[in-house]
């Protein structure tokens, strides 16, 4: 029920994601273009937030979409909506990339690679529901205690474990666990009450 209520809506008249993914299995380039145009911004924003470097983020986004094109069958339509699956795949790829890099490599790349001027979302109408939900998520997370919010961000964007977060924030492990779980439950309740 929860998933049914909060499945991202798609523009009226446009084919749903699932239909486009099925067309990928028939090697339909137009379906790929439509999926890319529909989701590349949120995927890129997420990957850029994790990796902090535009060129590396584009490499990872390219890998993600090529994986989607070449292995579309990996997405099981019976196991939930497409976008969360794509975002999970993108986050995992970005975190893998982050973990593979040595600290020295990171520093060198940070010096050489600056973020470009960011491009605004070009099609407001088609992203309206997505943007409203994004605003709501930001509001709800913004209402958390700063340390609680920081713990969730460290886990999500940097892939740290409870123990690593506790060490980084110098807080007891149990506190960190409670912060993260309660914060996510609050987000869930907030999104449910918005629907």
């Amino acid at each position: 029920m929860f998933l049914a209520v909060f499945t991202p809506s798609e523009s009226s008249g446009a084919p749903p994601d699932v239909a486009l993914v099925r067309r990928l299995l028939q090697r339909d380039v137009n379906a790929f273009e439509e999926l890319y145009d529909r989701h590349s911004r949120i995927v890129y924003g997420l990957v850029l937030r994790i990796l902090q470097q535009a060129a590396t983020a584009e490499e990872v986004v390219q890998d993600v979409f090529l994986q989607l094109w070449r292995n579309a069958a990996q997405y099981d339509t019976s196991r939930g909506p497409f976008l969360p699956w794509l975002l999970t795949l993108s986050r995992n790829r970005a975190l893998d990339h982050l973990r593979r890099k040595s600290e020295r490599q990171r520093r060198r790349e940070e010096q050489a690679d600056e973020l470009p001027a960011v491009v605004a979302v070009p099609d407001f109408e088609s992203c309206l529901d997505e943007k409203r939900r994004a605003l709501r998520v930001r509001e709800l997370i913004g209402e958390l205690q700063p340390q609680q919010r920081r713990a969730i961000e460290l886990a999500y964007f940097e892939g740290l474990s409870h123990s690593e977060i506790a060490a980084k924030l110098q807080e007891p492990l149990g506190t960190v666990k409670s912060w993260i779980r309660n914060g996510l439950l609050k987000l869930k309740e907030g999104l449910q009450s918005t629907a």
Binding site: I42, R91, E114, A134, R138
Partner: protein
């Protein structure tokens, strides 16, 4: 606890953190064993938790990949399709070449002829693909030019339309130049300025919309760095529906990628006086 209360599965406490990937190895292993044993309740909770965690992607600042990436991907995908067609035809041709040994001498010439024809056809297809790729490249360039032109027109209208609201954004520090924001209710917010110093390290400048409603938090918007000449240019194409809900625009310096809430004092602030 009353004995009549239903017992809650203790593993349910772990599913959100498991979906987030933050469980330590021992807890992770125990939950995975529990899921492998087929607990339907935890399985369903995990499915919901995965969706919930995916929503955290909304915390990332808005940004778009370059047009070059899109063009590169589409080119790769089209090449994949073309290669698959060629491979399928090759497989078909070679399967037809399996001939009984006693007929080998008789059919060898035919097979060679077939291969010759196949390679000839492939060369023609390759030439067509190259032409098609060049054509696609031209189309992409035209699309890009059209997009840039549309953007420039949009900015020109924002700047010249009498319905646009001008919002001066003076700097809070004497040695910094002011910025100028122009807000058109339908077309967006344009913020520009010149001679800005580059933020240190990889830091960036981020625009915030300060709501009028008491207790509301600043709404994060786009991030951008001045260019090498100190020019600052930012276009928000999707501002809130009503200017009347916004008290002010502010710009802060933030870590690369931006922040969900400001982490520094605003450097530039401009009051919104529109309807």
């Amino acid at each position: 606890m009353s004995n009549n209360e239903p017992t809650r599965d203790p593993f349910l406490e772990l599913v959100e953190s498991y979906a987030l990937g933050s469980l330590d190895p021992e807890e992770r292993a125990s939950l995975e064993a529990h899921l492998a044993a087929g607990c339907a309740e935890c399985g369903k909770a995990l499915e919901e938790a995965r969706w919930l965690v995916s929503q955290l992607a909304c915390l990332a600042p808005e940004a778009g990949p370059s047009g070059v990436l899109r063009a590169r991907l589409i080119e790769t995908v089209r090449a994949d399709v073309a290669n698959n067609v060629a491979n399928d035809e090759f497989a078909l041709a070679t399967s037809r070449a399996i001939i009984p040994l006693w007929m080998w001498g008789a059919v060898a010439a035919s097979v060679l002829f077939a291969f010759y024809n196949f390679y000839e056809a492939r060369s023609v297809r390759q030439a067509i693909r190259q032409t098609q790729a060049a054509l696609d490249e031209q189309v992409d360039l035209q699309k890009k030019s059209a997009q840039e032109l549309a953007l420039a027109r949009r900015e020109a209208v924002i700047l010249t339309d009498p319905r646009s609201v001008k919002i001066p954004m003076p700097a809070g520090q004497k040695d910094l130049p002011p910025l100028q924001a122009t807000w058109h209710a339908a077309l967006g917010i344009l913020v520009s300025g010149e001679s800005l110093p580059l933020p240190r390290d990889n830091r960036t400048l981020q625009l915030w919309l300060i709501p009028k409603a008491a207790g509301s938090k600043p709404i994060p918007s786009l991030t951008v760095r001045p260019d090498a000449d100190g020019k600052f240019h930012l276009l928000v194409q999707n501002p809130p529906d009503s200017q009347g809900d916004t008290k002010a625009l502010a710009i802060t310096e933030e870590p690369a990628g931006g922040s969900p809430q400001p982490t520094t004092t605003p450097v530039w602030v401009g009051a919104v006086t529109g309807k």
